[in-house]
């Protein structure tokens, strides 16, 4: 520091004419630098918060429309000649009529609906049917098959509008867009305008989105996230059942029993490295070991759960060790002092005290696993339509399914913009789950946190 002192002494020799009351130029400069620096910091925090707000607003604004869906209320005459040509109400005969047989009924119903509201149109029934989801025929057919007595009567069905009509109602599709679209014309929209004013066309909360299954590329209006939600649930069950006991056991060993030797060091280094291995590498591991080597079925939630277990283990181990470490040694000493064995001291005294922390860590680990997508892509949980609910518990673990994030990715890849809305909606559902889990974790921590 000799340099500094010598400089100071040089500076000290100069005549200073400033006073404490007027700032000299240098102080002003330093103060300005101070203010600038503070502003930089505030800006950085602000930018971070603004990004968060933008992200959330984007998600909510784009995703909320997915929770409502437009549908037509229309009376359909279930003509006996068309649906049951032999007239004997035999279920086998009725089921011979394919969905194509139901299309004319829908067309007639639409023509009547349009005429009822006094709309003049030159469009044929087949043209009008473009306003209705292509899944409508299947919906009516299933109702008829389940209840053959309805044949010959007039039944009011609530059928989904096609995704274009739905998009128009939500403002996603404009009349300009339709100029290049052969699926719907401006004339359809005139009808839609009248119908939505006079009733007959209604936009209601979309339970089918939350409980339903995925639909094929051409029917976005039918797609729902329910089945993949179940896939995620089964995966989380696997993760919880495996990661919690294994993670806690591993942490107890490392924290309470492990001697300080090379083997323990190796395990510790391993765990901290595994925590930072890219998730996609775990996907490769799952593909190579669980599917290629062991021969577990592709796309099964069991495999997804196993991969996510390996991925979450480090998180759970790290947080469990922290909460074990937070239990003061006096507890252990007291237990040992009254004659408990080391194992008893740990399992009867330390573990129960550390439990809230362990659960918090586990829930956060589960939340992380719930949102993870990349490894699921590799074990095949995308690329097909998760159209059926698994029948039974075993099937839930072993039959192909999707998971919420994988389903969102699948929708994001599809060409129809109507699916983007579904993807955003799916994200809202996913984030609600994550939020709930994190809030539970925070509450647990607040409620049971103990300062020693």
């Amino acid at each position: 520091m000799t340099d500094a002192t010598s400089q100071n002494s040089v500076a000290g020799n100069e005549r200073r004419t400033s006073s404490l009351y007027t700032l000299d130029a240098r102080t002003r400069r330093r103060n300005a630098a101070e203010t600038r620096f503070k502003i930089y910091g505030m800006t950085a925090v602000g930018i971070g918060l603004v990004f968060l707000v933008i992200l959330l607003v984007t998600i909510v604004r784009n995703g909320i429309p997915a929770f409502t869906q437009t549908s037509f209320d229309m009376p359909v005459v279930l003509e006996a000649e068309a649906l049951d040509p032999n007239g004997n109400r035999d279920p086998a005969d009725i089921s011979k009529v394919s969905t194509f047989g139901y299309n004319p009924l829908i067309e007639q119903a639409l023509e009547r609906l349009v005429a009822e509201h006094g709309i003049e149109t030159e469009m044929s029934g087949a043209d009008l049917r473009k306003m209705v989801s292509s899944g409508a025929a299947a919906q009516i057919r299933n109702t008829v098959l389940a209840n053959p007595d309805l044949i010959g009567e007039t039944v009011t069905f609530r059928v989904l509008a096609s995704s274009r009509v739905d998009g128009y109602m939500k403002g996603r599709v404009t009349r300009d867009d339709l100029a290049r679209d052969k699926n719907l014309d401006a004339e359809h929209l005139n009808i839609v305008d009248v119908l939505s004013e006079e009733g007959g066309l209604e936009r209601a909360f979309n339970w089918a989105f939350i409980t339903g299954s995925d639909a094929s590329e051409s029917r976005p209006e039918q797609a729902g996230i329910g089945v993949s939600m179940l896939g995620s649930l089964f995966m989380m069950l696997v993760v919880l059942l495996l990661a919690l006991p294994i993670g806690v056991a591993a942490s107890i060993y490392l924290e309470e029993f492990a001697p300080k030797n090379r083997w323990t060091d190796l395990i510790e280094v391993n765990i901290s490295n595994l925590a930072a291995v890219p998730s996609i590498v775990f996907g490769i591991l799952g593909l190579a070991v669980f599917i290629q080597l062991v021969g577990l079925p592709q796309s099964a939630p069991l495999v997804g759960g196993l991969v996510l277990t390996l991925m979450t283990l480090p998180t759970i181990i790290i947080s469990t060790r922290a909460s074990l470490k937070a239990v003061p040694p006096s507890i252990r000493d007291a237990a040992l002092g009254v004659g408990a064995s080391k194992t008893q001291a740990v399992f009867h005294h330390v573990l129960p005290l550390a439990m809230p922390g362990i659960l918090t860590g586990t829930i956060i680990g589960l939340a992380q696993a719930l949102g993870e997508t990349a490894p699921l892509l590799l074990i095949g949980m995308v690329g097909f339509i998760a159209s059926n609910y698994p029948d039974g518990i075993t099937a839930g673990f072993l039959s192909p399914n999707s998971a919420m994030p994988a389903q969102i990715y699948e929708w994001a890849k599809r060409a129809d913009p109507a699916y983007y809305e579904r993807a955003w909606g799916g994200i809202i559902v996913l984030l609600l789950f994550l939020m709930t889990m994190n809030i539970i974790a925070i509450l647990l921590r607040r409620r049971f946190e103990r300062r020693w």
Partner: protein, 487 residues
């Protein structure tokens, strides 16, 4: 017998064992638990442990090994002539498994009577149609050798399953009897139980090592397979990436590495200044109230799943950038997906990562150093710039390295936001692709690992693993070394 039943039987046996073992020990002490060496529950637990642990271990190992053994023995019976042109043993074997599985399903679903399955032949049954009716779709008609192999596959699995049931249950019963007979008042049950618990704990802790070994082995073997099909030098130094499943692909990693680096650099250029300034502000300037409000909110960004950021890049940031830099704007950008799109969004994702790591490190700088600087008349910002940050520098470098490794390994943002074309270009508004994105595109929905186009994903994974591991080890080393400095 289904595995679930075996497990349930073992567990039931364990419960019975617990009760019986406990009672036998108590009876040997004449009902007076004070005469026992250990508490009565330990005698019960020792019987339960001996019943469950070994039998379940054998069960798990058997389940893993049996398919491999059967696969190999069946594969060796398939004549070379049965393997069609442009196919491989692996593909034929997957057909065999599918047929065998389909036959099982057909029997279970009642499509074929159980006693007729073994007489089925390819001539008088439409096997493909039959299997399709139970939900097993085949790519082609079933040939005679495949059916034979499928039959022997079924027979072997059947024998294997019966053998497994017998062996596992025998071990469970054996362990039960062994431990039950030992339950006597002088038996040191607690020591036995505690030792077994200790070993179970060690086993659980070793899973971390097993995972690493699993990762390394699965990467190495498939990478070696790949390099026997495709020269390593072309992979590491090739500048063209154009896979074609018809053959004649060029699989050079350089363009992918370039894309990865470029996107990561942009991401870090966004995340590091913002994250660092935010950390400095929050730890040095902000009031406790502000800190307790802003810090968790910024960390929410870290809790949002990457698929959300991917969608944000694809549907919001990309189109926004396209409006400004696209054909209607400056004309630099051709499509919504680009290096810039992915980099910016990834940068947002990394902000909390950088800020909370740096925050910890800045907080670890001893207060005495700040007090010293302030006492000498330095302003707060001068203290931060000339005392705190230099002292925290190694830790901050470590944090940045960790963020870089996160950026390199990030998948969903680049899959959705960066595009699919591998190219070497300097224009950040052009679509490029990364190592992770190509792993996904080469492996998704592909069950056959014999072509270099699929196997290349494993070498890409290996490269990724090595790079991120090196960065992590370096970062942890720096952080740890720094931490010790002030403790």
């Amino acid at each position: 017998m289904p595995v679930l039943w075996i497990v349930l039987i073992i567990l039931a046996l364990a419960v019975v064992g617990y009760i019986m073992g406990r009672q036998r020990a108590l009876a040997s002490a004449g009902g007076d638990s004070r005469k026992l060496h250990s508490l009565p529950s330990y005698y019960g637990s020792s019987v339960a442990i001996f019943t469950v642990v070994f039998s379940l271990l054998v069960l798990v190992c058997w389940l893993i090994i049996q398919p491999i053994v059967i696969n190999n023995s069946v594969a060796s019976t398939i004549p070379d002539t049965a393997i069609p042109e442009a196919s491989s043993l692996g593909l034929v074997m997957s057909d065999v498994r599918r047929v065998a599985n389909g036959l099982d399903l057909a029997v279970a679903g009642g499509a074929i009577p159980a006693n007729e399955v073994s007489e089925i032949s390819t001539e008088d049954t439409d096997l493909r149609g039959l299997l399709a009716s139970v939900g097993v779709a085949l790519g082609s008609d079933v040939s005679e050798p495949v059916l034979d192999a499928a039959q022997s596959y079924r027979n072997l699995s059947k024998t294997g399953n019966i053998l497994m049931t017998v062996v596992v249950l025998a071990i469970a019963v054996g362990g039960f009897i062994f431990a039950f007979l030992r339950s006597h008042k002088d038996f040191r049950a607690r020591n036995v139980v505690e030792t077994s618990i200790r070993y179970l704990l060690i086993l659980a802790a070793s899973i971390a090592i097993l995972t690493t070994i699993g990762i390394v082995l699965s990467l190495i073997f498939n990478t070696i397979d790949f390099f026997t099909l495709y020269p390593a030098s072309d992979f590491f130094f090739g500048t063209t990436w154009s896979p074609s499943f018809g053959g004649g692909s060029q699989l050079g990693i350089i363009p992918l590495l370039w894309g990865t680096m470029y996107i990561s650099i942009i991401a870090l250029a966004v995340a590091v200044p913002i994250g660092l300034f935010a950390a400095v502000y929050l730890s040095e300037y902000a009031s406790p109230k502000m800190r307790s409000f802003a810090k968790p909110l910024i960390e929410v960004l870290a809790g949002i799943p990457t698929i959300v950021y991917g969608l944000f890049a694809l549907l919001t940031v990309g189109p926004l950038l396209l409006q400004v830099f696209g054909p209607n704007g400056t004309g630099w950008m051709g499509a919504a997906s680009s290096v810039m799109t992915a980099g910016l969004v990834m940068g947002i994702m990394l902000i909390p990562f950088v800020s909370s790591l740096s925050d910890d490190i800045i907080n670890a700088v001893p207060q005495a150093m700040r007090d010293g600087a302030l006492g000498l008349g330095a302003t707060k910002s001068e203290t931060v710039k000339q005392v705190v940050l230099p002292a925290a520098l190694p830790g901050i470098v470590g944090a940045i390295l960790l963020a870089a490794s996160r950026a390199i390994g990030e998948t969903m943002i680049v899959v959705l936001g960066a595009g699919a074309a591998a190219r070497l270009s300097l224009n950040p508004f052009e679509a490029m692709t990364t190592v992770t994105a190509k792993i996904v595109s080469q492996l998704t929905g592909d069950a056959d690992f014999s072509s270099p186009e699929a196997l290349v994903a494993f070498s890409l994974g290996m490269t990724l693993f090595v790079i991120t591991l090196a960065l992590n080890v370096l970062a942890l080393y720096i952080v740890r070394k720094y931490r010790e400095q002030y403790e």
